[in-house]
């Protein structure tokens, strides 16, 4: 029972320092990172140029689709208004994102440990997800009032479902061998979750979060349609109603930029978290 003398086999030496190779490795990594940042920018600019050219060439009316240049002008002119309306939506989207995804992760955890719960409630969750906001808007306002809470609730409800589906799959789709390992270690359900299922579900979770990056913003916008004075959603209604297409598009650009920022943040976190995942980094 006492500590054994250690007769180490000095067969392998492990990682060595090779500054030159390391420098090349880091340079390659930096290149990839920059590429990842610049390519969408380039593609975005190319799209804008095509759009602008299309609008000019086909003489498309501004109320159908305004030229990017017109949108840009409005964007600069109304910058302060756009920003003032961005904040409430950003806060709603972020809170909805957090609440919806946490709820989905919790419920999918329950599903994995309570197969009965899954079989009973998964189909019901699908059906509930189909209910349009306008059907439950009065109940929400009654319960939560007309403030941010109701909008957060709607954003949360809308981004809830895809995460539930993906996360349930990710938590279940575990390598049977690794599961046997945890069983041998007599890991508690909690430990199996923390050390195996959750880790294993991360690729699925990040996919879900990427989807939620835009659905939470959509949710906040749609949520504002149950009544708001400020916010991207309110501004969209205002601009649509007033046929102010350039303002409408400028507003949408702000909303899209919001979900783009969400997406980029999630991708960044994903890259740090899944660095062990060879397939992803390859």
């Amino acid at each position: 029972m006492s500590a054994m003398p250690v007769h180490a086999l000095a067969v392998n030496k492990g990682f060595a320092n090779d500054t030159e190779a390391q420098a090349r490795f880091n340079a390659a990594r930096r290149y990839l990172a920059w590429r990842k940042r610049l390519l969408p920018l380039a593609a975005g600019i190319a799209l804008l140029i095509i759009w602008e050219a299309g609008v000019r060439f086909f003489d498309i009316k501004s109320f159908i689709a305004p030229a990017p240049s017109a949108v840009a002008v409005v964007f600069v002119e109304k910058f302060s208004i756009l920003m003032a309306n961005l904040w409430p939506t950003a806060v709603e989207a972020f809170c909805g994102f957090a609440i919806g995804n946490i709820a989905a992760v919790l419920l999918s955890t329950a599903f994995v440990y309570q197969r009965t719960a899954e079989e009973a409630f998964f189909p019901i969750a699908v059906m509930v997800h189909t209910i349009p906001v306008m059907a439950y808007a009065p109940i929400l306002v009654l319960l939560l009032g007309n403030g941010m809470e109701a909008k957060v609730a709607i954003a949360a409800m809308i981004c809830f479902f895809p995460t539930l589906v993906n996360m349930t799959r990710g938590l279940k789709n575990v390598n049977p061998q690794q599961l046997e390992l945890m069983r041998i270690l007599s890991a508690s359900p909690r430990e199996v979750f923390q050390k195996l299922r959750f880790k294993n579900s991360l690729p699925y979770l990040f996919s879900a979060l990427k989807i939620a990056a835009s659905t939470s913003v959509i949710g906040a916008i749609v949520g504002e349609w149950i009544g708001a004075d400020r916010g991207i959603g309110a501004l969209i209604i205002q601009a649509t109603y007033n046929y102010n297409s350039p303002l409408l598009y400028a507003t949408i650009v702000v909303g899209a930029a919001l979900s783009g920022t969400f997406f980029a943040t999630i991708s960044w976190i994903e890259q740090r978290t899944l660095s062990w995942n060879v397939d992803e980094t390859a």
Partner: protein
């Protein structure tokens, strides 16, 4: 809902069916100029939007009263047994109209025959009413269901399209000389922007609602006299609005809020007979499947009566 505050000012919530804007010009002015405060009210305007029209919220007692866009909505809600009753109106004539372009004009109901008419899903009953009043059958026209925008007319997908005259900015799409065919002038006389509350509230909060009507009327009167200053106050409250647009809309809206009727009866007044004719019309058209509501359940003049002498008589 919050109660009376320390200073004796009581909060009262007005639930809209759409975003706040030029349709609430008078209320905003009254709010900004302290008319409500003077009346002991702290008015909170609760916006609505595409996903909610607020009737259920008011009917359930969450907010004290509300405003919808058309008198039809009050009638339909009453018909379904929702306990809401109109106690004042914001626009004496409904700004609902059919717009067309000069190259293919629709000036009166009979011009609609053989044309493609674009209406929203919810505008179908009004179209049916206009056609019925003018003895046109539905198959004499071609009804096109559209979304809530006027593009189909501009792009030639329809010959006439339904919308609100107060949507000045939207109408800009049609160019300067489009043709307007008003619902009101073609036999369908509806009110717009009715204020409504539950039966309960109309009894238990009668004084509060009366105070609101007095102060709001004062606000509308101020707007009538100082449209530009009123728009400035509106923009101050709702910075998302655009001053130029609101300056265009305000006179039109004021033109619907103050007519020869208000000259005698004061702002906000209505004629129960007009309500009754609306109820009868929709009933004849078979659009009240849940039953014909009684006039009493649809409107009450109790608030109007109580504020008879305090509402501005302009016209």
């Amino acid at each position: 809902t919050r109660g009376r505050t320390a200073s004796g000012v009581q909060t009262i919530n007005m639930q809209l069916s759409w975003l706040a804007g030029g349709n609430q010009l008078g209320e905003v002015v009254a709010k900004q100029l302290g008319y409500f405060e003077e009346a002991g009210i702290d008015l909170a305007i609760q916006p609505g939007g595409p996903n909610i029209d607020g009737v259920a919220v008011v009917a359930s007692g969450r907010y004290e009263f509300g405003q919808v866009s058309s008198s039809t909505q009050v009638i339909l809600a009453s018909s379904q047994g929702i306990p809401v009753t109109s106690f004042a109106i914001g626009a004496q004539k409904h700004p609902y109209a059919y717009f067309s372009l000069p190259k293919n004009p629709v000036r009166k109901a009979s011009d609609m025959i053989g044309k493609r008419i674009g209406v929203e899903v919810s505008g179908q009953n009004l179209l049916a009413a206009v056609l019925a009043k003018n003895s046109i059958t539905e198959d004499q026209i071609q009804k096109v269901i559209i979304g809530s925008d006027l593009t189909p007319l501009a792009s030639g997908q329809v010959d006439a399209i339904a919308g609100w005259e107060t949507s000045t900015t939207a109408l800009r799409v049609l160019g300067p000389d489009f043709i307007t065919m008003r619902l009101w002038d073609n036999g369908v006389q509806l009110y717009a922007l009715p204020y409504y509350a539950t039966h309960d509230a109309l009894q238990s909060k009668q004084e509060l609602l009366a105070s609101f009507v007095r102060a709001a009327g004062k606000g509308w009167a101020y707007a009538h006299d100082n449209p530009e200053k009123a728009v400035d106050l509106l923009i101050k409250e709702y910075p998302n609005l655009v001053k130029e647009d609101e300056m265009l809309t305000a006179p039109i809206m004021l033109g619907f809020a103050f007519t020869d009727k208000t000259k005698f009866n004061g702002w906000g007044s209505f004629d129960p007979k007009v309500w009754q004719s609306q109820i009868d019309m929709f009933d004849t058209l078979g659009q009240l499947p849940a039953g014909k509501p009684s006039l009493d359940s649809v409107e009450t003049t109790s608030i109007l009566d109580a504020t008879k002498n305090d509402r501005p008589k302009i016209g």
